[in-house]
């Protein structure tokens, strides 16, 4: 079964600085999707960024970028120029593509605090 591990339960960063959130996963599949979701205090789950495993190029969305290391099964999220509004829980998620792998599996999450 696929598993997603976020080993850092909490992190903090100063406003305008850069922070990296780590995530590792375990799978025997060769093709899959990886996601980072943000959950602010409003509780709404918001998609931050997505990476397709067959793409070697790391995904980027404005201030958010990933470092995808397929061989190491690592998927870290970098937030540049951190803003107060980035404070939230961040969840890494995995989704297989093959039949029978339709589960969207989440890590336990990491709480990010942004200090002014």
């Amino acid at each position: 079964a696929q598993t997603v591990t976020q080993s850092q339960p909490e992190m903090s960063v100063q406003e305008a600085e850069t922070v990296t959130l780590s995530c590792t996963y375990d799978t025997s599949e060769s093709d899959y999707y990886l996601f980072w979701y943000k959950q602010p205090p409003s509780r709404q789950m918001i998609l931050v960024i997505r990476q397709e495993a067959y793409k070697q190029q790391n995904a980027t969305e404005n201030r958010f970028s990933v470092n995808f290391q397929k061989a190491a099964k690592s998927f870290s999220l970098k937030i540049s120029d951190s803003q107060l509004g980035d404070a939230a829980m961040y969840f890494c998620a995995y989704r297989g593509i093959q039949g029978g792998s339709e589960k969207l599996v989440f890590g336990k999450g990491m709480k990010l605090t942004v200090n002014p």
Binding site: Q44, M45, L47, R95, E102, L104, G109
Partner: protein, 110 residues
């Protein structure tokens, strides 16, 4: 375009009562999921569906049931509510490459 709609937003149940959490999506997505999120924890998969008439168990299915008679609706049934089912419940729908979540249902069993 409403996205994923969950009702109710809040509910208090007494031990042993039953209820159905409703989830409706208007995006014609095949994949739908139910998760529970306990305080300070991640999302645990309860049940999921890959299309109308097809459902499967997730990580924590005990005490819950689902049905998927239409593409749009994926209700979650709680039978004989227990305090351990106190949680926030999220429904999600999507395609392989992206998912939309409802705003959640906060359920308290007393």
């Amino acid at each position: 375009n409403a996205g994923v709609t969950q009702t109710p937003k809040f509910r208090i149940l007494k031990i042993g009562q039953s209820m159905t959490l409703q989830c409706t999506q208007d995006m014609n997505h095949n994949y739908m999921y139910w998760y529970r999120q306990d305080p300070g924890m991640g999302l645990k998969l309860i049940y999921y569906s890959v299309g109308a008439g097809i459902t499967d168990k997730g990580e924590v299915p005990n005490g819950y049931n689902v049905s998927r008679s239409t593409t749009e609706d994926f209700p979650l049934r709680l039978e004989l509510a227990a305090p351990s089912q106190t949680s926030v419940y999220f429904c999600a729908s999507g395609l392989v490459y992206g998912y939309t979540f409802g705003s959640g249902t906060r359920l308290t069993v007393v």
